[in-house]
Symmetry: C2
Subunit: 165 residues, 2 copies
DNA sequence: CCTTAACTTCACAAATTTCTGAAAGAAGCG
DNA sequence: CGCTTCTTTCAGAAATTTGTGAAGTTAAGG
């Protein structure tokens, strides 16, 4: 059973989740600090935290928070807002926005594809290596298209299950 | 136009591709040496190379090759074979095997899901944070299923385009 | 405008990761 | 069985990455 609203959550339970979740993201290639910041936001009830709150909860310096959120907004995993009537900055995870960003590795895919295309050309499309690269390239192009339609299906699925937010 | 078969390929063109491709893999989270070794294999005509060949081409020590191929076989991106009648080990990329492995991040997905499930429980399924985590979890579960069907579609697509190998 | 709160940038220290050389460990071959 | 060839392991050096403190920048509010 959940706490009555207004009661502070168990900070230790939050921290355990944040660190555990962040560890998975790190393993998947993300740097530690952005992963932790993201985890903290994801586990916050409001889905919004200030720099100070993030720094305090994660026990890190303002500089570390600054670097992490800069990265996270660049990859569109959080958005930053100015708190009206204050110099405080706030960072938010939108319920859906962030995993849309996760699949928006399109830029990444594109660069893989560029590298492969260049390889096919420079090694020769009619060499065994060139053919292998071409097939790999075709795979990435396929995946790119598939991800798009998958996200469309997800949006439908999500609406059914969670309703619009 | 391609070289007549039997002619050595331009080592510089190969190297350019390998390093460029490896750089993308690194950016996507893979360590440098495994990425380079994988690139070298991918760009080889035979799709097979010995430790010595890898070390020589990449200008690295046997120890570095050893570590890289250990990692690559663990994640099923290459397979190792014993060259018959020799102590030489050979490493191979199968045309298709490796990107099957790439999408076989299922283990990774599973761990993300575990972390999220634990978070939903410990933060409370009826809290705002718990609901956010639950939706994220649902997304991952959805993706996991989708990847499976996507790979089935790819195999069909591939057969049409490249024929069986 | 000046003060002050908040965020950012930067140089550096600490921690981590990566690669090497050397030594030890397997496995074919005589 | 020992010799030889190849691979792996391991300790440590080198390089890279990460996070901090301190100074610098911006903008709200008197």
């Amino acid at each position: 059973m959940a706490e009555p609203s207004g009661t502070a959550r168990d900070p230790e339970a939050v921290s355990r989740f944040v660190e555990h979740f962040a560890a998975q993201m790190v393993e998947a290639g993300m740097s530690r600090m952005p992963a932790r910041v993201f985890g903290a936001l994801l586990a916050s009830d409001a889905g919004v935290m200030t720099s100070a709150e993030l720094g305090e909860q994660l026990k890190v310096s303002p500089a570390a928070v600054s670097g992490a959120v800069r990265y996270l907004s660049q990859v569109h995993m959080v958005s930053r807002e100015r708190e009206p009537g204050s110099r405080r900055e706030r960072y938010r995870v939108h319920g859906d926005q962030w995993y849309e960003a996760l699949t928006n590795r399109e830029a990444v895919l594109k660069r893989w594809e560029d590298a492969l295309r260049e390889g096919v050309t420079s090694l020769g499309a009619d060499t065994p290596a060139g053919r292998r690269l071409a097939e790999t390239l075709a795979f990435f192009e396929f995946v790119e298209k598939e991800i798009e339609t998958m996200m469309e299906r997800w949006r439908v699925h999500r609406e059914e299950r969670f309703g619009r937010e």
